[in-house]
């Protein structure tokens, strides 16, 4: 599979434009913050989060969620970068496939609280929830129809969205696919991860000894994939390529990855086969790297076995765990790194862990290779892997 990525965009704690994000990931140390306004929690001073900058959050319209604000912002940027107008989209078969966790769930916490007390002041949250799914809402925003899907495979959602988008282009089901994922900070996953004892009180430090766990984040990543003949008409450089996709299930445990990494191993092998690449071609792995004991151990086992000595990029030390958006944000960060030919450093790493037996990239590191592998692991034992190529791949 070699599918053109004509443009990409991202919003996350690192910034709200590609330039800002690129500058921050290479030049600043990312640290999480504490929740102040979004919701009340007994844990807000103990468990930090990675939030999208306030300058964007303040642009939220009354009738939209933060998750959709992120999507809207990213799609506008990506279309502009791709030199596509909303009118242009009318000419093509445009698919939409987005991953999310919070923005598909019945997470109307404030409404539900009022409902339980029989004190409902507004039904907007509920009507909104029943009116449009995330992918349908974007269709409506862009005034398009066609193939669409909202993927809700927890933390692997948007990696799958990108992989399937590539397949839709390859199989001529669509001319253009807008793909990626979004998630917003919400009391449900924030509290849930804390109660599962996998949230960290300190800044997220993937693959580090004594790592404390997840810092919840929020954000969105969007990629525009196109058929070559359509892209060529605009005489521009691509942002990169989707080269391969693999997805395999552990069938092991609801919340813990299989210790032998069987599902991840199979997904990596499938994706590499799909891309027609070998280990030697890979510039770096953008690891799922949540900073939890079990996740990092499983990934390290697979990387040491299949991809020994390939540099590991630990994006979540910059962005936190953005759940359904993570795969898409990491795909964008991977493409930034590939096109800049420099792997960004990890933040917050403390100490080598013998069990892990490697350290992630700790200094910004030059690379001459054109391909990156990005993996995502999710509740339910879902393992998704995409292979991305830079603009010269």
């Amino acid at each position: 599979m070699k599918t053109i990525i004509s443009s990409m965009s991202c919003v996350c704690s690192l910034g709200t434009t590609l330039e800002e994000i690129s500058d921050n990931i290479y030049n600043k140390v990312s640290v999480p913050t504490h929740i102040t306004t979004r919701f009340e929690s007994s844990y807000k001073n103990d468990y930090p989060v990675y939030l999208v900058p306030e300058k964007l959050l303040s642009q939220k319209k009354e009738d939209e969620s933060y998750g959709f604000l992120f999507v809207r912002t990213c799609v506008e940027q990506a279309l502009q970068q791709a030199k596509l107008s909303k009118q242009d989209l009318q000419k093509y078969r445009v698919g939409i496939i987005l991953g999310t966790s919070v923005n598909a769930s019945f997470n109307c916490f404030d409404f539900y609280k009022q409902y339980k007390k029989n004190e409902v002041s507004s039904y907007w949250d509920l009507v909104d929830y029943f009116s449009y799914s995330l992918s349908e809402r974007l269709q409506k925003y862009l005034s398009i129809s066609g193939l669409h899907a909202t993927i809700t495979t927890a933390c692997a959602s948007s990696t799958d969205a990108i992989g399937i988008a590539g397949q839709w282009i390859q199989q001529d089901l669509c001319d253009i696919v807008i793909c990626g994922g979004t998630d917003e900070l919400n009391i449900i996953p924030y509290t849930g991860f804390i109660k599962l004892l996998i949230a960290g009180k300190n800044p997220c430090s993937p693959f580090s000894k004594n790592r404390g766990g997840i810092n919840i984040g929020e954000g969105c990543g969007i990629l525009i994939l196109e058929k070559e003949e359509i892209f060529k008409q605009r005489n521009m450089e691509p942002a990169g390529y989707v080269l391969g996709y693999g997805n395999c299930c552990d069938g092991y445990h609801p919340t813990t990855p299989a210790p032998d990494g069987i599902g991840l191993k199979n997904a990596v092998m499938h994706a590499m086969k799909d891309a027609g690449i070998k280990k030697e071609n890979i510039a770096f792995i953008n690891a799922h790297g949540t900073g939890t004991h079990d996740n990092d151990l499983t990934e390290s086992k697979v990387f040491n076995e299949l991809l020994k000595d390939v540099p590991v990029m630990a994006s979540k030390s910059h962005t936190g765990h953005t759940l359904g958006a993570a795969g898409a944000i990491e795909a964008v960060l991977s493409l930034i790194a590939l096109n800049k030919k420099e792997i960004p450093k990890a933040s917050n790493f403390k100490e080598f862990d013998e069990e892990i037996n490697f350290v992630p990239v700790l200094e910004n590191t030059k690379t001459e290779k054109h391909v990156a592998l990005s993996d995502s692991l999710a509740f339910g034992g879902v393992n998704s892997v995409i292979i991305l190529g830079d603009k010269n791949a």
């Binding site: 039904y123 909202t150 849930g192």
Partner: protein, 600 residues
């Protein structure tokens, strides 16, 4: 249209009964309803396709859910709201994610292929199908198990019920739960997903999945086949026991029984009978049921034997689609039915349609009972029962002046129900009586509620007319065309009345017999000059009687009768054999020369 994909199997359900037979209790005990619903359809879908769980095949899994596990999400929010976030339940959280059903299925069914959950409200299943098609097309999986699952959104439901103005556009859409799964593979075929009647509020938002599953689902599962075999064995054990499995199109299977001697056959049947009556599954039983099931899956046809009532058993082939259509056509007659009490065995077309199939479509319990008229049926029957019976049984109830005290619908078929029986049933408290007019070749054709009414043609049939006479009937959605067994007059409103039988058959104890055929056989006997055969009068009993004129009037009549009885035993069935034989010098005729009845 879903291109290059075919359905290997499908299963749908709105309950979680029976899961404990497939999984250890400890593995499913703490599982929530949402995951159990999905698991039940998934496991049965794979079973129908004969996919063994222990084999690690490259099967993909895609779950579509409009709302996800709402109940668990609410449970988690409840735990925060009611007890504070420090007491929030981690188990409720992990079960509240949309791919919780995927988790359950992949773990318990050992699925290691690609897996995904899709959740975009009422278009979730369409999106899941598109992704399944993609995965099959690019070889990511050999087969994809794709299913939809949803549970009732309790919050939406209560708001709708309270008529909140802002929710009025949602009508009753959010009421529904169920699951429908499909095992798909790559093929040269296409799947038409543009189905009518998508707004099945019983399974909103995943109603398309349910409709598609109904379209592609088999009308029989292995449990049904056990029921049919068991009914057949019970009925036939004491008399005919050959061709046990000929209710299906399965020559290979029936050979198992025809290649062995009679004694061994009877032993096999006795063993089978005892096995079928036990709950435990045995290798033998599995083998037989599996073989029949595989044949049915392959052919999707059922043969109903005409039970030899015409002298020769005739096989009437019915396609699965025709049976589904027939059940759909009669469904509106049984709106308020809560249970079916059926006296007709499932291998008979009448029992198959109105017992086995109807109970499944109405989703009501099916109770099988032996047709004993002396039973105190008021202890068995409940209000809103459908009582599936036949005229002989009902005649007896009327004769016994049996009073119905429950509000039941009595159904009768297999033979015309006499006027006095129908009237008597209403006099004795029957709430609704439905007489089905049908034929083995066609299944149900029409129905009526009173003996004075004509039968109403079922909506699945189109009449073919010659003046007012209905010559044949044709299924609207297939090329199935049936010549009617009777001369039938059609009048307004698609009502019809049988005038006479074309084949001159009469019924003895509910079985068609042909007096002309019996007459010909008797006439071929030594020393018989002329014969008349007719049905005895009602006051005489329900049998054939014969009048014989001998060639030689000096014949030893006692010896003649002895020889004739032996001859009849060899050449006629029990129902065909005349119970009264009168010898005379000339046939009884009217003054106009037409045959007339005779006294003994």
């Amino acid at each position: 249209m879903l291109k290059n994909v075919s359905v290997i199997s499908t299963y749908n359900t709105d309950n979680i009964a029976g899961l404990e037979k497939d999984f250890e209790l400890k593995k499913i005990r703490r599982m929530d309803f949402f995951s159990k619903l999905a698991l039940k359809s998934a496991v049965n879908c794979l079973k129908i396709a004969d996919i063994r769980l222990e084999e690690n095949k490259n099967i993909g899994l895609i779950i579509a859910t409009g709302y996800g596990p709402v109940k668990k999400t609410c449970d988690f929010m409840d735990s925060i709201i009611d007890f504070g976030d420090e007491c929030a339940s981690p188990n409720a959280f992990s079960s509240s994610v949309h791919n919780s059903a995927l988790t359950t299925i992949s773990i318990l069914l050992n699925i290691k292929g690609p897996s995904l959950t899709v959740s975009n409200l009422d278009s979730s299943f369409q999106s899941a199908l598109a992704i399944a098609q993609t995965w099959l097309s690019c070889g990511m999986a050999d087969k994809v198990l794709v299913g939809a699952v949803d549970e009732i959104h309790t919050v939406a439901q209560s708001i709708i019920e309270n008529n909140v103005e802002v929710f009025k556009d949602f009508n009753n859409k959010n009421a529904g739960f169920g699951s429908a799964f499909f095992l798909l593979e790559k093929s040269d075929n296409d799947i038409d997903v543009n189905l009518e009647n998508k707004a099945d509020s019983k399974f909103y938002p995943s109603c398309l999945a349910m409709e598609l599953s109904k379209k592609y689902s088999l009308i029989l599962d292995k449990q049904d086949i056990e029921t049919i075999c068991c009914d057949f064995i019970k009925t036939e054990l004491s008399k005919k026991y050959k061709n046990v499995l000929n209710v299906f199109e399965n020559d290979g299977i029936s050979n198992i029984f025809t290649d062995v001697d009679d004694t061994t056959q009877q032993e096999i049947l006795k063993t089978l009978s005892s096995i079928f009556s036990k709950e435990t599954v045995t290798v033998n039983k599995n083998f037989i049921v599996d073989e029949i099931f595989n044949l049915f899956k392959k052919n999707k046809f059922i043969n109903f034997l005409t039970s030899g009532s015409t002298g020769i058993s005739k096989q009437c082939k019915h396609s699965q689609d025709n049976i589904k259509e027939e059940v759909s056509a009669v469904l509106p007659l049984f709106k308020d039915i809560k249970r079916i009490v059926c006296l007709v065995p499932s291998f008979h077309s009448y029992g198959f349609i109105f017992g086995l199939q109807l109970s499944k479509r109405l989703n009501v319990e099916l109770i099988k009972m032996p047709p004993i008229p002396t039973t105190d049926w008021n202890n068995v029957l409940q209000d809103n029962d459908l009582f599936v019976t036949f005229p002989m049984f009902l005649n007896q109830l009327v004769k016994l002046e049996y009073k119905f005290t429950k509000k039941v619908t009595v159904l009768t078929s297999t033979a015309p129900c006499p006027k006095e029986t129908m009237d008597g049933l209403y006099d004795n408290g029957v709430n609704t009586l439905i007489e089905i007019y049908g034929a083995s070749e066609a299944g149900a054709i029409g129905y009526r509620n009173k003996s004075t009414e004509g039968f109403k043609l079922l909506p699945c049939w189109e009449p073919k007319l010659n003046n007012n006479t209905m010559i044949s009937i044709k299924r609207k959605n297939s090329d199935m065309e049936i010549e009617l067994p009777d001369n039938v007059e059609l009048f307004e409103d698609n009502r019809f009345k049988p005038v006479s039988r074309k084949d001159n058959a009469v019924q003895v104890a509910g079985i068609n017999v042909y007096p002309n055929k019996v007459k010909d056989i008797l006439k071929a006997f030594d020393n018989v000059k002329e014969v008349a055969v007719r049905l005895a009068r009602q006051d005489e009993g329900n049998f054939l009687k014969a009048f014989i004129v001998l060639k030689d009037s000096n014949t030893d009549k006692e010896q003649f009768m002895k020889n004739l009885k032996m001859y009849m035993k060899q050449n006629l069935t029990a129902h065909e054999t005349p119970k009264k034989i009168t010898l005379g010098t000339e046939l009884p005729k009217t003054q106009f020369g037409k045959m007339k009845d005779w006294q003994e």
